[in-house]
């Protein structure tokens, strides 16, 4: 069984698992890091959104073999700086965004990346930008997601 090495939330990890197992299951079922959630397995619901070298991606649709030793994977567990929450996490608490909370790790990771993207492209975080966020929230917290993302963006 092949060994795969990469950086997960700042720590180097090595796992023995078949090449084609999707990274989501390596993270959740083998490494026991459960922040990224399963919601579809086909890259449409975005509940597992995490960061690959600082960019948003969905580990349900990436085989572990596509990740190399130099790659850094960040899940929601690695977003805060120790006990100091990321501004987006803080904004999420202040706006009481989460209802059940199941999609929210992915929503927060997506919001951070979307803010980075629109800043880099010189765009506003407006209705068009939010309409590009595909993460589904079945509790329907979309308005609070928008408010919190705007507040979080100001402190990023």
């Amino acid at each position: 069984m092949p060994t795969h090495t990469f950086t997960l939330n700042g720590e180097q990890v090595s796992v023995d698992v078949e090449d084609d197992v999707r990274l989501l299951w390596v993270i959740r079922d083998v490494l026991g890091v459960t922040g990224p959630k399963y919601g579809c397995g086909i890259n449409v619901c975005k509940a597992c959104t995490s960061h690959y070298n600082g960019k948003a991606f969905n580990p349900c649709s990436v085989p572990v073999s596509a990740i190399g030793p130099e790659d850094e994977i960040t899940t929601i567990e690695g977003l805060a700086d120790g006990d100091t929450l990321h501004p987006m996490q803080q904004a999420w608490i202040e706006h009481d965004v989460a209802q059940c909370g199941y999609c929210q790790p992915g929503q927060i990771m997506a919001a951070v990346a979307k803010v980075n993207q629109v800043k880099a492209e010189g765009r506003e975080l407006d209705d068009d930008a939010f309409s590009e966020i595909r993460n589904i929230c079945r509790c329907g917290t979309y308005q609070r997601i928008r408010e919190a993302a705007k507040a979080g963006a100001e402190n990023m």
């Binding site: 459960t34 990436v62 929450l85 009481d96 059940c100 993460n135 079945r138 329907g140 979309y142």
Partner: protein, 796 residues
Amino acid sequence: MPAHRAPLLRPRPRSEDEAPHHKDVSRRKFLGYIIAAPTLVVAAEIGRQSLFDAGSAFGAPNASAAAIPSPPQPAELYEFVDSYRDACRPTNGLLKVVVERDGTVSFALPRSDNGQGIMTSFAMIIAEEMGIEPEQVNVTLADARPELVFNQLTGGSSATYSIYSPVRVAAAIAKGALLDAAAAQLGQDKRTLQTAGLTVVDTAGRALPFGELAEKAASPVTKAVEVVLKEKNDFTILGKSRGKDDARAMVTGKKQFTMDIQVPDALHTVICRAPDLNGFPNGTPANIDEVRGMPGVEAVEMIGNGIAVGARTTGQAFDAVNALQVDWAPGTLAGKSDADVVSELRAAELPLAVPSVVGTTLEQSFVHHARNGSALETNCAIVDFKDGKAEVWAPAKSPIAGQKIVAQKLGIPMNAVTFHVVPGGGSFGRRLFNDHVQEASEAAKAFGRPVKLMWDRANDCRQGRVKPLCTTRIRAVVTKDAVASFELRYTGTNMEVDEGFAEMITSQAIKAPGGNLGISEAFWNISVTTPYNFGVNTAVMNEVESGFNTGSTRNVYGPDTCTAREVMVDRIADQLGKDPYEFRAEFIKNARLKKVLDRAAEEADWGKSMEPGTAQGIAVHQEYKAAMACVVELDCRPETVNRKVRSGRTGPRVTKVTFVVDPGLLLNPLGYEAQMMGGINDGIGWALTGGLHLKDGHFVEASWDNFFYTRQWNTPPEMNIVVVDDSDFPDPGGAGEAGVPATMAAVVCAWRKATGKEPEYTPLLHEEPFPEGFTEYPTSPPIPESPTDGLEYTYG
């Protein structure tokens, strides 16, 4: 028996304008018990209130010169939430607020929290009565407790309404007992003492920790205690916004859902299911041994609903499920499509029965398509079975029935099953059922290993429970200035209810006006009203055995019947040449609904000038002891309707929602508003985009890019939710489902106005071609294969 009054409470003078039809619950004495225990354990019994004491929750009649009064309907006086509250009364004495030896206060809530925030609001309720802070109350979800009988069900937006008072009573008695113990120890008059933090303090500032008092306040024998509850005017916690207690855990990934719980040696387990809805395997798969040898696979066994596969990772279980070669028997709807089911419903529709009277007859008919009941967390459960005992973890809303199912499947006594209720990742009615608990039990027995069973998304959509496909018909007879008769008929594929819920309704239905009905009909009678003075007013339902797997899915009959009613109300207003808002204001039956309607019209600037192709829509609803009014603005212009989102449904866009709700007693404004927001987004989805297509015996929809629940590109950029904080109604009404019906109705009313067309079905886009990029996933193999190109879609 020692009776006491909690100190520092002033009787509130009865104000002149207090609605006389509402009993002032807070000034009555309540009975509870200090339970025989080594530390302070308090339980409430509220068994003495008479039935039907709710009176009319909706206030004084709304006077109108022209309207022909309609007699009261059962649900105006006695709703489902009343029925459930009554079912809980005999066992409220088993709900316990405990002051532990370490001074902490704890309460095991016998309900299921799937995002409603009830763990937070019950901490607030207990803290309010005890004079402590909510974060000092440790609220957990109770394990299944069969002795609670009906008092451990979560559904119908009844969680808070059903046990708000008993929990307050238990908390108030706990506080009184602590004060008694402190008074004895300090040699002081109890009336000079109060709680502060987790201590009792006297006027000199001396403080005794609860931990020191807990054992002294305990009683060696169970004794009855009478108590008076805190007045609303003295509330310092209830009525003020509070974020969720688990907010930090949720944003850091630390909140544990069922599949996040680590159980040693557990196998990640997925079921291979049939292509047809409710199909089943004809014998063992030909290649079962080959699949047993696939990478990561550790067990493959036949169980009731298919073939269970257990593997080291969920992904490897998916692969093995897809590799199985199975001969499937046809399902319960084999070969059928939507149109076939609609024909069956049409054939079963009941006649409109009121004899014709003089006036203009308006008729209307809708098909309301089935809706996906999937939560974001798919159906899941853990069962660990060894040495004749089982431990279960699941997000269950009917855990006592679940515990019974586990015991039956494993062949062990119920008391050998410990059933932990885990906070769920959404419910919307799904978690009232224990289908997955049954499967996990069967798999655990077959594997001889602990099982972490999770449904894959495609089958959660296709084989999971759905909101029933139904029709509504209305006939109204309109005179020159009023409505002489209003007849509503609902015909649906049968609504299934969980065993625990069914027993509860059966036990209570006889008490409802017109009782002794079947379960669905009983539920209909105590949930559906037409809140207008429309003369002869009838609302009748019937259901057809159908072969679907159904469930309530966030508001049972409300959204579809409300939509049908409110569209007809607009048509009647048109007929009479009246404005839709002014017509409603004139004909609405009661003061509470009139008040929210007026407020919504004002907040939304009803009647303002709108661009061609856009329109406002207005609708009202009453249910769960709450009154709701919604005004939406809908944009049906081509440039909006034809927006492109990759493989996403766009169409008409709701650009603004104004939603006004009178919730009864408001406990946590922030949490209540959140529930309305969720319900509003559901209502928009059910009106426009979210419907299931049955095709050749299976649902087409297998993912979130197939089933069009509201997404960011559909949700309104503007949403103004007004939660009335001075309701006349003294109890907290239901919140979880209250946002849906009026919103769905207002959107359909706005669409009718913007397009000039008469709607005939919901969702309104149901017959549109699927959007560009839509993927129709095969039913065999059963699980769509996970892509491998995820790194091509990164951003940031």
